[in-house]
Subunit: 406 residues, 2 copies
Amino acid sequence: MIKANPNFAKIQASYLFSDIARRVADFSKKNPDAKLIRMGIGDVTRALPSACVKAMAKATEEMGVDATFHGYGPDHGYGFLREAIAQNDFRSRGADISPDEIFISDGAKCDTGNFQELFAQDVRIAVPDPVYPVYVDTNVMAGRTGGNINGRYEGLIYLDSTAENGFVPDVPDTHADLIYLCFPNNPTGAVASADRLKKWVEYARENKALILFDAAYEAFIRDKDIPHSIYEIPGAREVAVEFRSFSKTAGFTGTRCGYTVVPADCRVFAENGSEIMLQPMWARRMSTKFNGVSYPVQRAAEAVYSEEGKEQTKMLVDGYLANAAVIRDKLRAKGFSPTGGDNSPYVWFDTGMDSWEFFDRLLNEAQVVVTPGSGFGRCGNGYARISAFNSMENVLEAMERIDRII
Amino acid sequence: MIKANPNFAKIQASYLFSDIARRVADFSKKNPDAKLIRMGIGDVTRALPSACVKAMAKATEEMGVDATFHGYGPDHGYGFLREAIAQNDFRSRGADISPDEIFISDGAKCDTGNFQELFAQDVRIAVPDPVYPVYVDTNVMAGRTGGNINGRYEGLIYLDSTAENGFVPDVPDTHADLIYLCFPNNPTGAVASADRLKKWVEYARENKALILFDAAYEAFIRDKDIPHSIYEIPGAREVAVEFRSFSKTAGFTGTRCGYTVVPADCRVFAENGSEIMLQPMWARRMSTKFNGVSYPVQRAAEAVYSEEGKEQTKMLVDGYLANAAVIRDKLRAKGFSPTGGDNSPYVWFDTGMDSWEFFDRLLNEAQVVVTPGSGFGRCGNGYARISAFNSMENVLEAMERIDRII
């Protein structure tokens, strides 16, 4: 008898964003003429930078000629892309990361979801709350938790991110083996200073723990003192893996490319306490279960690092940051106390009511889609996330509509 | 202490194709002027069909304009592609598969590797020998086997595919829960008749088992009596999942697209024996750990089903089949007894010596790269796989070189 993985029965009925999509689809069906403004799912709305389009078009042409055709690429990504990343995203900021420590993938969601495969079943896992659901759900599916009790899984350590700690949780007083961190944070928009990150690196070194650092929103950091990479913190190479994405940096949500950094000296441990290098494990996992990213997409990603590409992606991100500032300021003017919105495309605030009630009210009365904070965990109860991924015109209209009904 | 997944220590030192790549790289370094002919890794060599290039170029352009930009796609693939697949790959052959039973992915390797996540830890797994290493290695990593003893993992049921059974294993006399089948077979090139597949479907129904059917090489079938899909067999919908790929059909190895079919009535079981539908489990797995395939790539895949695309992909496959016929005939003329090569791009034969010895001899003396059969399992000992993915010119030269040294 072919038995199902029993852990799937533990996960909550639906993935947050599928749930939102369903409610929005229902509303649209009943109100076909309503002009919805979507500030929920965190999907970008503006065109791919022309530097990327040009590079992708050229690579697509190459694919049509035998002499320049590309079949299977190198297991962990093309050298041209890994070198551009190492130079521009790390070395230029003083973080010592080499091209062969970079693994190209089809996105940070896949990598943050898959990375847990490298660890033993009984590792103690700490996740922030509110949390990007992928960190939790993938560990639930893998059987590393108990059941869900009042919205929290037994066996996980939840790091409360609240107004009290500025939405940047401090190291726990208990022992954790694997720690998920995300800065700039999804969903709160909070950023972590070098000092706060230092404490986490120290904690990981002292506890023989590992940090999975999700830096998918790094491009939104404008404050000069905020680290873009965990590797700007001394000692992080041995205790941290970093995830990056072109999705929000360069509008790649529908193009699909990201990467993961696993430094050569990053270590985990065998049952007997001896060190095991993590990089060959990830290399083996990816060689076995993945076959690389489309060649034209890797060329498009490379173009992000051209002079033209850098300018265009900066403009793209600046545009979204301008939206975020509008959202934040309008919410403040209404008496809310939002966080995020600078150094981040997300604005997070206490709605003063139940999250889904707020969601439904905005959907039905203002035709504006936001993300209910409670979907990210208990600490998100009563909160909402508004995403700045839209045109300025839509953002202004959405904030005006919200203004009218609240 | 962050502990490593101990199962990674069980897997053999390297993934077969990475191992070959390393030996070839070593040879090339020592012999920079040697003109290598690669008939090893099974990578296609000819340009993407122009219908696909055109569609991909057009979609890339769309990505560069706000009004036609595509962000995150639908969770399980665009409707336009799922509908084209259902109609052309299934309904046109009398197999009742609907678009919402099709899940678009970035390739069959990923899907055949990831699908095991849906099952309990203690399912009894049967794999063919020789076997595509991904089926085995992914289950080893997941902890469903014991150690490797003389090339076989404890706890797996190996289905010997030998000259005696025409390389199509019969159903085992023991009980298996999960059965991996691949036809046209990689590496042997063998195909399974409807009668042989019927026995497997009956076995799965009787044993409450599930078949994972890898049909990545389906496009190479020319014999009218050979099923292209397991769903051409009555009763298969409840007991079989099918994997397909555009890699070999349309030269997508470097473009990356495939799909998996999970029929709505395909069932697995809970511990207590009650039925659980498999489709929502795969849907949930993919929503949680995957973010879809690049929009331009999905448009390129859709173009495979245009009139132009069908003609071009048929020509492409016909070209590789012509190569395969040459390889097979030349081997026969040398006194070997190859299988495959019709209905398949692979030719499989007993070399009369150790597989790696044959590999090294061909590499060093003829500068021809083949795949050592022993890399696919014990039943591959002494065998080699020659791939027809090349130009006719190269195939003729390779066979001439082989002719000279053997």
